[in-house]
């Protein structure tokens, strides 16, 4: 059993973002990076699936600049067996289709039984890299998977998809298949000291791809702070307690719920 997990390095959730000089992205040099949240859950689910199966390997794959090695190191320390790093320094210039087709070229010959990804990235939020990749690899996919029935794993796999408004649905897939994993599917393990040490000797294969031009790419023209749809009254002017007092006054006189 071979599972490939796609993981992406993104700006830290709590980072203060500054728009870059060309107004087409953020200034990434001064922003702390982290592993995309749902990709962390995708890795955890892959590790648990291999553990339940009792044999096989988890291969982490990332597309990004050299700095994305931290994502790989972390994944190897948590238990992934080896890694494929598709090195693209200006990965933010690639569209979803280009990313998917570049990854498809890099992993096709691995002939994995399963490919896991997070359901979307927390930066560009295309939410389609996995689905396009499945189509390009010629394998079926399921998005927003919230449970994997590991006992069912054989020629097929049964997974639970999240629908909207509290609804769910089980699907059974013939393998190979690609799943995009929802955040919160399980508790993510920490890397052990042993794992961190072991990671150092694990294989990291670097791929330098030829990214093909894609005429139908969506292209960012301009990035800006969201236009405010409401006039927000900021209360307290930095003094939290004064703000709290003002708020109760507003609740009484303007909102009239007290």
């Amino acid at each position: 059993m071979k599972i490939i997990v796609l993981m992406k390095q993104v700006a830290n959730k709590d980072a203060v973002l500054r728009i870059s000089g060309d107004e087409k992205w953020i200034n990434e040099t001064d922003v702390a990076q982290q592993t995309n949240e749902s990709d962390g859950y995708a890795l955890e689910e892959a590790l648990r699936t291999i553990e339940a199966k009792g044999e096989g390997e988890v291969i982490v794959c990332t597309l990004g600049p050299q700095s994305a090695k931290t994502v790989i190191k972390d994944a190897l320390a948590r238990g992934a067996n080896r890694a494929i790093h598709i090195v693209v320094e200006d990965s933010r210039d690639l569209s979803a289709y280009q990313i998917a087709s570049t990854i498809a070229d890099a992993i096709r010959e691995e002939n994995a039984d399963l490919v896991f990804t997070g359901l979307q990235s927390d930066d560009a939020s295309y939410g389609q890299t996995g689905v396009i990749l499945a189509e390009l690899l010629g394998i079926p996919h399921a998005t927003i998977v919230i449970e994997v029935d590991r006992e069912s794993l054989g020629e097929t796999l049964r997974v639970k998809r999240e629908l909207e408004s509290g609804w769910y649905q089980w699907f059974t897939y013939k393998l190979p298949a690609l799943l995009t994993i929802q955040s919160g599917i399980s508790q993510i393990r920490y890397a052990s000291l042993k794992g961190i040490m072991a990671a150092k000797s694990k294989e990291v294969r670097e791929v330098t791809p030829t990214v093909e031009a894609f005429a139908s790419a969506a292209e960012i023209q301009k990035v800006y702070l969201p236009l405010k749809t409401k006039q927000t009254q900021m209360l307290g002017n930095g003094d939290v307690k004064a703000g709290a007092v003002e708020l109760v006054e507003k609740l009484k006189t303007e909102v009239r719920v007290i």
Binding site: A96, Y97, A124, V131, S165, Y173, E219, A244, L247
Partner: protein, 323 residues
């Protein structure tokens, strides 16, 4: 040339966000001089077709195959591929639902395209669309154009257009038999995990907590505020994922969609997935440490600071005011 708009349904029961997609398609159609055709994948002469034909569009196409009785990404992709090749549309417009997220990128990829997804608005420029999407979890907006040849695939976020603004009219209905190939997944019947024991859609006041609450013990602080206001307690997804509150308290795209008179967001940054579930609330109040949190963009009142400092004072002041 035309715009195809997707009508989502389950057993011929409409997903109402599809009417928002009709409104979006009508608006784009006017701006670009394109006619709108609605597409309903179904295994029968869908009873929805007549309802949809009551909107000001040119045509309703029921894409028909026995394999379209229930949703699967493979069957839907095959059906859409054939409809698109037959109609040759300029744009394909859909609401950004979970189902659309599942199959639209597949259809686009098969045709050598990608989707501009989860858009919040558009403007027409030189006969093409400039689309606006939220990026970085709602912290920034990006204006996006699409290169290459039509068709262009666009999905709009729930609430980006109003369903009740979709114009009424009269359209023709036709059936297009579509061939669906191998379906590599077997669906079971959809179900609800647990009947929501709390119906937050009926709440007058909601106090909602997010990651800023930091620990399960701290929920008591928010509960005190809910108690003095007679409010219901709710949460964003990470709180329910951590089992700090049950899933029936979750607000957002994967939880309940609410519009109470007052919504108080404590330590909620305001990721899109949460905002779509509460943005129509009457008065929105946000307390957050991060002055750039997207929740402040939709808040009527904001306090920048530590909720653990603010909330006890709010509780005390409300008690005093009531006394």
């Amino acid at each position: 040339m035309s715009i195809l708009v997707f009508i989502e349904h389950k057993d011929c029961v409409l997903n109402k966000t599809s009417i928002e997609a009709i409104a979006a398609a009508q608006s784009i159609g006017k701006d670009l001089g394109l006619k709108v055709t609605a597409v309903i994948p179904c295994d029968k002469d869908c009873s929805l077709a007549q309802d949809i034909a009551g909107y000001a569009i040119e045509k309703v196409i029921v894409a028909k195959s026995d394999k379209l009785s229930t949703y699967t990404p493979d069957a839907y992709a095959d059906a859409w591929e054939q409809v698109i090749k037959a109609v040759n549309p300029q744009y394909v417009v859909m609401s950004h639902t979970y189902q659309v997220r599942d199959f639209a990128p597949k259809v686009a990829a098969r045709l050598g395209r990608e989707v501009v997804g989860d858009c919040i608005r558009y403007r027409a420029e030189g006969g093409k669309l400039v689309l606006t999407r939220r990026i970085f979890l709602g912290k920034l907006d990006a204006d996006v154009t699409i290169g290459g040849e039509a068709p262009y695939f666009v999905t709009f976020q729930s609430g980006a257009f109003r369903g009740d603004s979709a114009e009424k009219g009269a359209a023709t209905v036709e059936t297009m038999d579509v061939a669906v190939g191998d379906v590599r997944m077997t669906p079971e019947t959809p179900f609800q995990e647990a009947k929501a024991s709390v119906d937050l859609t009926k709440s007058e006041i909601i106090v909602a907590i997010g990651r800023g609450i930091k620990s399960q013990e701290n929920i008591a602080i928010a509960q005190q505020l809910a108690d003095v206001l007679g409010a219901d307690l709710a949460a964003s997804r990470p709180i329910c994922d951590s089992d700090w509150l049950p899933i029936d308290r979750q607000i957002g795209s994967s939880g309940q969609t609410v519009a109470p008179k007052v919504y108080i967001a404590l330590g909620i940054s305001g990721a899109i997935q949460h905002i779509v579930g509460m943005k129509n609330s009457g008065t929105i109040i946000a307390v957050n440490k991060d002055s750039e949190a997207p929740i402040f963009d939709i808040a009527d009142y904001g306090i920048v600071g530590d909720l653990f400092e603010a909330v006890p004072v709010i509780v005390e002041e409300i008690k005093n005011a009531k006394a």
